[in-house]
């Protein structure tokens, strides 16, 4: 294990929360490319261990290996809320397999207004609302590390059939903007609603 890799592992362990690669580069006084290389190595090193490295966009995080799930669950004092309503499942599958979606896109696919479902998912920490990188007037609901953790995947691409599904739906959803105005309540609400 090289020095940078060691440091990254240490810092992530100490922090116990997700950190951005950018932040790590600043702290460790190296380039982001160097961070990326070291993270790749660290990930390989952790491949068959009790700790996994999770990745999401620019952030990385350490967690327990999914195969130990039952054991840790037993050790926890509090019960996990694993309940998912039909509305929640639909919404989560859209947010996951599209790797982030606007509320208009979600409403378009579901045929119903999803604002309450999205708020509840956000309260549970399973999705987060972020400003679109390409259009700062739009909000995108994205999967959180917490959601990836519940799904037991280190990164979004590890979801079953992700690649295949993601390709096929991207081709199919192009027309969403045209129809967004048809949706109930849509126009009454502003996307800033849940901002914090």
């Amino acid at each position: 294990m090289d020095e940078l890799e060691t440091k990254i592992e240490s810092v992530l362990f100490w922090k116990g929360e997700p950190m951005s690669r950018k932040k790590l580069a600043t702290i460790l006084k190296v380039s982001e490319n160097e961070i990326n290389d070291a993270v790749e190595k660290l990930k390989n090193n952790l491949a068959h261990r009790g700790i996994v490295l999770q990745e999401k966009e620019n952030e990385i995080n350490l967690g327990t290996a999914p195969q130990i799930s039952n054991l840790i669950e037993e050790l926890r004092k509090e019960e996990l809320n694993k309940e998912l309503s039909k509305a929640t499942l639909e919404t989560l599958s859209i947010v996951l397999y599209k790797n982030g979606a606007t509320r208009a896109e979600i409403d378009y696919i579901r045929g119903v207004n999803s604002s309450f479902t999205l708020r509840a998912l956000s309260v549970r920490g399973l999705v987060e609302k972020t400003v679109s990188e390409t259009d700062n007037r739009r909000y995108i609901y994205k999967p959180t590390f917490e959601l990836l953790s519940f799904m037991g995947v280190a990164k979004i691409e590890d979801l079953p059939d992700y690649e295949q599904v993601n390709n096929s739906i991207h081709n199919a959803v192009k027309e969403e903007d045209v129809v967004a105005e048809e949706l109930p309540i849509q126009n009454l609400e502003d996307e800033t609603t849940f901002e914090n």
């Binding site: 116990g16 929360e17 996994v52 995080n61 967690g63 327990t64 999914p66 195969q67 799930s69 840790i72 669950e73 996990l80 694993k82 998912l84 309503s85 039909k86 509305a87 499942l89 639909e90 989560l92 599958s93 859209i94 996951l96 397999y97 378009y108 696919i109 579901r110 045929g111 119903v112 207004n113 604002s115 309450f116 708020r119 917490e146 990836l148 953790s149 519940f150 799904m151 037991g152 995947v153 280190a154 079953p160 599904v165 096929s168 739906i169 199919a172 027309e175 129809v179 949706l183 109930p184 309540i185 126009n187 009454l188 609400e189 502003d190 800033t192 609603t193 849940f194 901002e195 914090n196």
Partner: protein
């Protein structure tokens, strides 16, 4: 909370919340059909009568009624066109039909994915480490924590929460609009019947005799009348009910506070 197996057949009355696509897809799939204008036309009556009974039972919120009605309007178009091929549709109407098919296909994809999400969710999980204990006790405040800023922040976050309000007028307008759509379609169908009178007698009609075809159309018109009344009932039963919408938070206030401090 659903604990039922995925194989359980959709029942209209029991589900707390089921959007129009769930119902429509179920009707199409029960008949083992592909999603296209032909299959949608064949389930239109079923969809409308389910919708009516949902409306009568009062189990739909106004927002839900609206989303069902939107789909119903498009289905009625599809059905009318299938009964009367010479009925001319506007570009917008044709667009609505194409969109409904596409949305339904997408919805089916995500319904399936929802099943796969359900089967992995919370099974083999990754856990974040427990909160590390604070070894050293410190007190490190921030100059922005004052009595006034704390009050502003609290008021602001409360102001941003979803509020209960009355059914917005626009919802009612959309519902009224569907009535117009039905009236308008009824008229168009009636005049199309006259226009295509000759067509009915021709051999193009396949197995249907002229009399049969007229009967089908007349009963569809009766159905439309029933739906029209059903929608009115649903609206009358529901439109005074509260629904909840989001209030736009006055985020400018927080920024103002932050600005004052900086």
């Amino acid at each position: 909370m659903e604990t039922e197996s995925s194989s359980q057949i959709y029942t209209v009355k029991t589900e707390a919340f089921e959007g129009p696509f769930g119902l429509l897809l179920d009707l199409v799939e029960k008949r083992k059909l592909f999603i296209n204008d032909v299959s949608l036309a064949s389930v239109t009556e079923d969809f409308l009568s389910h919708m009516n009974s949902l409306g009568d039972s009062g189990s739909l919120s106004p927002a839900e009624i609206t989303s069902f009605i939107q789909v119903a309007a498009t289905l009625i178009l599809i059905k009318s066109k299938s009964l009367l091929p010479n009925l001319s549709l506007t570009d917008e109407e044709q667009g609505d039909i194409k969109n409904l098919e596409e949305r339904l296909r997408l919805y089916r994809i995500f319904m399936g994915l929802g099943g796969s999400v359900k089967s992995s969710f919370g099974k083999e999980m990754i856990f974040a480490p427990l909160e590390r204990k604070n070894e050293i006790l410190v007190f490190l405040p921030d100059s922005r924590i004052t009595k006034d800023t704390m009050m502003e922040f609290a008021r602001n976050v409360l102001g941003g929460m979803p509020k209960k309000v009355f059914l917005p007028e626009v919802e009612v307008r959309k519902v009224i609009n569907i009535e117009e759509v039905i009236d308008n379609l009824t008229q168009r169908i009636q005049s199309a019947i006259t226009m295509s009178f000759a067509e009915f007698s021709g051999k193009k009609s396949g197995q249907h005799t002229r009399a049969e075809k007229v009967t089908v159309i007349v009963s569809f018109l009766a159905m439309l009348e029933m739906i029209r009344n059903g929608i009115l009932n649903a609206v009358q039963n529901n439109h005074m009910e509260d629904i909840i919408i989001e209030k736009i938070p006055d985020s400018a206030l927080v920024e103002e506070v932050a600005g004052e401090i900086n």
